[in-house]
């Protein structure tokens, strides 16, 4: 034993420290993790995705965006520390991750919001080839139940089974990442939604009063809900729907233009947004930015606003 102690004051074996020294990560990985640049996501790239306590490494199999939907990516989890005796994993070469033991799990692939992507780690040519090879399998696997099919193939009593089950849960968290509401008219699901602003009767003060009564929130909070700075939870939406007798329609606040929300979900804005609102979570920072940028845009008369430029101006102004 040496004199070295850990954070709890317990001694740490010098042999372990020597072993740890030999396991230091390669410089290529350090460079990739510390690189501040965040390029646009595209197929065949290895990304880190996260939401709160959940973090997953994965390969982008497909990137999907359009005029009537927010951008999503088909994200296939990658592991470094899971052994595969089932043959369900696909070995892939990533020089950044050290090549050895890098496994793709097509059965766990899910469509997740682009907003979940945090950092690009590798975009080597080998990965692009791997992405195209697993595309068909992964696309067909995109539903929560597909994970069970994969887990059926894995020895249920092995450590790998537990690891993969946990990753399947993590993928569900990423797939249900909270998103900023888009104006009903901008979405393909507009028939099933109604704007909070339109649904609430009376003047602005009347609308605020209904919200404070039904949701039990303060006046400023009700104002934030009405203006879209604070998204409605499913339960709140349900309570308003029942109060107004709106049948099966989902109620949301007026929402923001789809192009603005899609731009805000680009990974390159993640860290700048957190930079202007360090105490807030990313979802709150995005919602605040949507409100702020939209308010700025309301003063302009451009027919097709350049949302990226406006987000940049919002950030430069300190949020």
């Amino acid at each position: 034993m040496s004199n070295t102690v850990d954070g709890a004051g317990a001694p740490v074996s010098s042999g372990l420290l020597a072993l740890a020294e030999s396991f230091r990560v390669p410089q290529e990985l350090r460079d990739a993790v510390l690189d501040a640049a965040v390029p646009p996501p595209s197929e065949g790239q290895l990304w880190r995705a996260e939401d709160g306590p959940v973090a997953v490494l994965g390969l982008l199999i497909s990137v999907q965006s359009g005029k009537d939907r927010l951008p999503n990516v088909l994200f296939c989890p990658v592991t470094l520390d899971v052994e595969d005796e089932s043959g369900a994993g696909v070995a892939v070469a990533s020089s950044v991750l050290g090549n050895a033991d890098v496994l793709l799990w097509p059965g766990l692939a899910r469509w997740i919001p682009l907003a979940a992507l945090d950092h690009l780690l590798d975009d080597g040519q080998d990965l692009l080839g791997a992405a195209s090879r697993v595309e068909r399998t992964a696309a067909s696997a995109d539903n929560p139940d597909a994970a069970f099919a994969l887990l059926d193939a894995v020895d249920v009593f092995s450590g790998a089974a537990q690891a993969l089950a946990q990753i399947a849960d993590d993928m569900s968290v990423l797939a249900s990442l909270p998103r900023i509401a888009v104006a009903a008219s901008d979405t393909h699901a507009s028939r099933d939604r109604t704007s909070l602003m339109e649904a609430l009767p009376g003047s602005g003060a009347d609308k605020i009063r209904v919200l404070t009564d039904v949701l039990g929130v303060s006046g400023p909070d009700a104002m934030a809900v009405l203006r879209g700075r604070r998204p409605l939870t499913d339960d709140e939406s349900d309570r308003i729907r029942r109060h107004l007798g709106l049948g099966g329609q989902e109620v949301q606040h007026h929402g923001f233009p789809l192009e603005l929300v899609a731009e805000l979900e680009q990974p390159r804005w993640r860290r700048p947004l957190l930079g202007v609102a360090p105490a807030a979570g990313l979802a709150e920072a995005r919602a605040a930015a949507a409100g702020g940028v939209y308010a700025l845009a309301a003063r302009d008369s451009a027919a097709e606003p350049n949302w990226a430029e406006r987000i940049q101006r919002y950030l430069q102004a300190g949020g």
Binding site: T4, V5, D6, G7, A8, A10, V12, S13, S14, G15, L16, L17, A18, L19, A20, E21, S22, F23, R24, V25, L29, R30, A32, V33, R48, E50, P53, V54, A55, V56, L57, T79, L80, D81, V82, E83, V96, L97, G98, A100, D101, D118, L121, D155, F157, S158, G159, A160, Q162, A163, Q166
Partner: protein, 329 residues
């Protein structure tokens, strides 16, 4: 400094990360009763588990955490998951029921006498005799699915009296029965069941069949190879060879030699054959005397940690040197 900051700053585990690993290992290992040593948990037992885990998975886990963990919470959760997964596999490989189960999983599909019950039939996925049970369904096996007491199956197995062979090592597996004996034993168990069995039931029955002869002989030892004679019995049946002990020993020596070389790092490997002489160490590495002592000390610590009290220490070192010589050529 937090564990995550340490990992990011040094690109590897330092005291904070290793301390976290040790605390996680202690907590998670206690959650697996099958790992509990006969005399209860002692601190060195946890240290041994940490050492085994880190030697086996440290490199991959370090990279995974560096790439994946964005803060201390994520680092803790991811490291915990790795530890849990490894402990499950470790328990299966090193405890008697676990190893026996693992080996039965591998051997049963290769035996024509047994088959899985097809989908859509009662007991789908369970194991049964390939030509079906003799006679009508017994009282313990409605619809051909055994639902009785597995102890009765173990009693039936014991009547065969499968005997152990010669046994000289406390830390090595040895073949104690042959494939034919195992097939006979499984056949007896299935006959007694009169229906299909879950793998867990088979494991219990096989284990129980041997227990009369092996009671008290299976000892948990973190440092030893899997010590169960029951697993050895099935292992021998798997290969049908009597020289399994020798083969496994050689395989283990080769694996340990490679693990040792991985752990020693470049400098440690370069001085492996001259460690006794600091002057030669200094010359080999092109460093001063104090540095030579430090390098030699680090390598010695790795040797002590990995093979310090290993009965095959000399053979492992010889194999490691042989590998190094081969690389040089």
């Amino acid at each position: 400094m937090s564990a995550h900051k340490e990992l990011r700053r040094y690109g590897g585990f330092g005291p904070q990360c290793l301390g976290l690993l040790t605390r996680l290992m202690r907590r998670e290992a206690r959650g697996l009763p099958v790992l509990k040593p006969p005399g209860g948990w002692a601190e060195h037992a946890f240290d041994d588990l940490v050492q085994e885990f880190f030697a086996a998975k440290g490199k991959a886990v370090t990279r995974m955490l560096y790439a994946q963990a964005g803060d201390d919470d994520q680092l803790g959760a991811l490291l915990c998951r790795s530890v849990q997964n490894w402990l499950i596999d470790w328990a299966r490989a090193t405890t008697d029921p676990g190893a026996l189960r693992h080996r039965l999983e591998k051997i049963l599909p290769s035996l024509p006498h047994f088959a899985r019950v097809p989908d859509g039939q009662p007991g789908a996925g369970r194991w049964t005799l390939a030509d079906g049970p003799d006679g009508p369904d017994g009282p313990d096996a409605p619809d051909g699915v055994f639902v009785g007491d597995v102890e009765d199956l173990a009693k039936a197995g014991r009547t065969l009296g499968v005997m152990p062979g010669a046994w000289s090592s406390e830390t090595r597996r040895a073949p104690v029965t042959d494939k034919a004996s195992l097939v006979r034993l499984l056949g007896r168990i299935f006959d007694a069941a009169g229906g299909s069995l879950e793998l867990g039931q088979i494991v219990y029955a096989v284990q129980g069949s041997f227990h009369a002869q092996f009671a008290g002989e299976v000892v948990f030892d973190h440092r030893a190879e899997p010590s169960g004679r029951l697993a050895a019995a099935v292992g021998a049946a798997e290969t049908g060879q009597s020289g399994l002990a020798t083969q496994e020993s050689e395989t283990r020596i080769a694996l340990m030699a490679r693990r040792l070389l991985d752990s020693l790092g470049d400098d440690g490997v370069r001085i492996l054959d001259v460690m006794a002489d600091p002057v030669q160490v200094a010359a080999r590495l092109g460093v001063g005397r104090s540095q030579a002592y430090a390098k030699r000390g680090a390598a010695t610590a790795v040797l002590a940690e990995l093979i310090g009290d290993d009965p095959d220490r000399a053979a492992i070192l010889a194999e490691a040197r042989s590998i190094v010589d081969g690389r040089a050529r």
